[in-house]
C-alpha cells in the first residue's frame, strides 16, 4: 500500500528512535499521536544541543550566552510567525501549551471584557481545555455560555451556529479539528459569520496545526492556539496567536519578570509591550528551541505531504475497520482529519484498549477530554486511533487484526 505515500515512510520512521521499541513483546504500534506525537531525532538533538552548549537565561543579559539564547528563542518566534502566517512576530506569544493559551485569553481578554449580561459561544465538539476556562470565568462573571450542537456525523450544525450567533455573542470559541471525531471545521467561514455579528473568534488549533497548513490571516481569526507536543515538538510549549491591536489592549495575565516595563511600590507599575507582556518568568527555553526544530522538520517534509499520507491512512483504516462486525465509526464528517474513533457493539472501549496494549498497539480510550460529545451521543467513550506522518498501512493492518482478536475474546 506504500505507493500512496508522497514520501518513504520507512525511511522517515528511522528518524524516530521510539518507533523501534517493543511493547509487551510486540513491535510498538503507536496510534496515539493525537494525544502526543513522537519526536524525531532532529528535535531531541536540538534540545540537547541547546542545553549542552548554549543555555542561559534570556533577555536583559549583557553576556554572550544570554544573547545567543535570546536569539535562538526569538528566532523560533519568527519561525512560528511565518509558519502560521501571522503578520507580525509580536503576535506570537509562547505559552506552555494550548490549554495555557486558551486560559490566557479567558483570563485577560475574558476577565476584562465579559460582563453578566454577555453571551459567549462554544461548540459541542470542544476539548475540555476550550470549555472549562470559560466555565470557571462564567462562574465569576455570570455571563451565559451557549453551545453550538453537532449533527449525527459529528459536523457542527449550521442552523445551531446561526441561532447562537443571533444572540450576539462576544466571542466564539471553536476547535479547528475535533480531537475525538476528527471533524475539520470550516473556521474561515465560521469566523466570517462571527465577525458579522461583532464577535471575536478564538480557534483551538491543537489538532489542526500538526496536519494542516494554518494561515491565520486567511482565516482572519482573532486568536489561534496550538501545542508543540502535537507537532513533533517538546511538551510544555505552545503558542497563542493574537491580533496585534487586541494584544495591545489586553491587560497582562501572569505577573513577573520580562512582562514589565518598570516595577514600583510607590509609582504605578507599567507593563511591557506584546508579546513580552504575556510572557512572565523564565520560559521553557530548550522546549522552544526544540519547537523550532520541529517546525523545520515539518516544513522539510511538507504539511501537504503529511496530510496526503494521513488521509490515505484514514481512508484505508476506515474501510478496513468497518468490515468488523458490530463496529461503528464515531465521527463521519465529510471533512475529517486523521483521527478515527470507533465502538464495537456491546463491548466497552477500555476492554479493547487493554487487549490492544497486550499486542503492543497504543490507542486511547475514554472520553478524550470531550465529555460533552459523549453525553450527547450517549456513549461511555470511544476507542481512538490517530495517525501522524510516521504511521503506516501495516500499522493499520495490525490495528484491524488486533481489534478483531480483542472482539473475539470479549464477546
Amino acid at each position: 500500500m506504500k505507493q500512496d505515500s508522497p514520501y518513504d515512510v520507512d525511511v522517515l520512521r528511522k528518524e524516530f528512535p521510539i518507533l523501534d521499541k517493543e511493547v509487551n513483546g510486540h513491535p510498538l504500534v503507536y496510534l496515539d499521536s493525537a494525544a502526543s506525537a513522537q519526536k524525531p531525532r532532529a528535535v531531541i538533538e536540538a534540545q540537547r544541543e541547546y542545553e549542552a552548549h548554549f543555555h542561559s537565561n534570556i533577555h536583559r543579559g549583557v553576556h554572550t550566552l544570554a544573547t545567543k539564547a535570546t536569539e535562538a528563542y526569538e528566532g523560533v518566534r519568527a519561525k512560528l510567525k511565518n509558519h502560521i502566517n501571522a503578520s507580525k512576530r509580536e503576535e506570537i506569544i509562547f505559552t506552555s501549551g494550548t490549554t495555557d493559551s486558551i486560559n490566557l485569553v479567558a483570563g485577560t481578554w475574558g476577565r476584562a471584557n465579559l460582563k453578566k449580561s454577555d453571551t459567549i459561544v462554544l461548540t459541542r465538539l470542544e476539548h475540555h481545555s476550550n470549555i472549562v476556562p470559560w466555565q470557571i470565568l462564567a462562574q465569576e462573571k455570570g455571563f451565559a455560555i451557549e453551545v453550538v450542537e453537532i449533527k449525527e456525523n459529528g459536523e457542527l450544525c449550521e442552523n445551531s451556529l446561526k441561532e447562537k450567533l443571533a444572540l450576539s455573542p462576544k466571542i466564539v470559541c471553536v476547535s479547528h479539528v475535533s480531537n475525538t471525531l476528527g471533524t475539520i471545521n470550516d473556521v474561515k467561514n465560521i469566523t466570517k459569520q462571527a465577525h458579522q455579528v461583532g464577535a471575536l473568534v478564538l480557534i483551538d488549533g491543537a489538532q489542526a496545526a500538526p496536519h494542516k497548513t494554518i494561515d491565520v490571516q486567511v482565516i482572519d481569526c482573532d486568536f489561534y492556539a496550538g501545542s508543540a507536543h502535537k507537532m513533533y515538538g517538546p511538551s510544555g510549549v505552545g503558542f497563542l496567536y493574537g491580533k496585534h491591536e487586541l494584544l495591545c489592549q489586553m491587560p497582562p495575565c501572569r505577573g513577573g519578570g520580562e512582562m514589565i516595563e518598570s516595577v514600583s511600590f510607590e509609582k504605578q507599575t507599567t507593563f511591557n509591550v506584546p508579546p513580552y507582556k504575556f510572557e512572565a518568568g523564565t520560559p521553557n527555553l530548550s522546549g522552544v528551541v526544540g519547537y523550532g526544530a520541529a517546525i523545520d522538520w515539518i516544513n522539510s517534509l511538507g504539511l501537504d505531504n503529511i496530510a496526503a499520507h494521513e488521509n490515505s491512512l484514514l481512508e484505508y483504516a476506515s474501510s478496513k475497520l468497518l468490515q468488523i462486525e458490530g463496529l461503528r465509526l464515531i465521527g463521519t464528517a465529510k471533512s475529517k482529519a486523521s483521527v478515527i474513533s470507533f465502538l464495537v457493539d456491546g463491548i466497552h472501549p477500555s476492554d479493547i484498549g487493554t487487549l490492544l496494549d497486550q499486542l503492543g498497539i497504543a490507542v486511547r480510550t475514554g472520553h478524550h477530554c470531550t465529555e460533552p460529545i459523549m453525553t450527547k451521543l450517549g456513549i461511555p467513550g470511544t476507542v481512538r486511533a490517530s495517525f501522524a506522518a510516521y504511521s503506516t498501512f501495516s500499522e493499520v493492518d495490525a490495528l484491524v487484526a488486533g481489534v478483531e482478536r480483542a472482539v473475539k475474546m470479549l464477546r
Binding site: 477500555s350 497486550q358 461511555p380 467513550g381 475474546m409
Partner: protein, 143 residues
C-alpha cells in the same frame, strides 16, 4: 493471624490458578470469564452513590455485614476486564473480617503480572475500588 492467613490462602489459590496461563491471552480470557461469572449487583444499587470516582470504566461497589461479622462485597463494572479484576478482588476480600480487609496486603495482582491495573495511572477505578473496600473494612472495624 489465622484471619490474615486466610486472605493469604485465597491469594495463593489465585496465583496457582493463574500459573496455568503462561500466555497473556489465556490469562485475559480467564479474567473475562471471571467477569462474566460475577454475581450481578442489584440494578437498584447501580447508583451514583455506589460509583467509584475517577474511572474510565465505571465500577459500583456495595458492602454489608453478615451475621458472622464478615463484610460481604458486591460489585460490578461496565467493562468486562475490569469486572474480572473486580471479581478477583471480591474473591480475596469478601466474606472476611473488617480488620483483615483493612490491613490486607494484596500482592496477588503483582504475582499474576497484572499489577499494572492497580497503578494509580490507570483510570479503570480498580485502585479506587480497593481503597474503598479497605475503607469499609476500617469503618466496620471501628464500630
Amino acid at each position: 493471624m489465622h484471619a490474615n492467613n486466610s486472605l493469604e490462602l485465597r491469594q495463593g489459590q489465585i496465583i496457582e490458578e493463574f500459573d496455568m496461563f503462561p500466555d497473556w491471552m489465556e490469562k485475559y480470557e480467564h479474567i473475562i470469564e471471571l467477569g462474566k461469572e460475577l454475581d450481578p449487583i442489584a440494578e437498584a444499587d447501580k447508583i451514583d452513590d455506589n460509583l467509584i470516582k475517577g474511572c474510565q470504566s465505571r465500577v459500583w461497589l456495595t458492602a454489608s455485614l453478615n451475621d458472622e461479622g464478615n463484610i460481604i462485597f458486591f460489585a460490578d463494572s461496565d467493562a468486562i476486564i475490569t469486572k474480572g479484576l473486580v471479581a478477583l478482588m471480591i474473591r480475596v476480600l469478601s466474606d472476611a473480617k473488617p480488620r483483615e480487609i483493612a490491613s490486607a496486603d494484596l500482592h496477588f495482582l503483582e504475582a499474576i503480572g497484572l499489577n499494572a491495573h492497580l497503578s494509580p495511572t490507570r483510570s479503570n477505578g480498580l485502585l479506587s475500588m480497593v481503597k474503598q473496600m479497605k475503607m469499609y473494612g476500617l469503618a466496620y472495624s471501628a464500630r
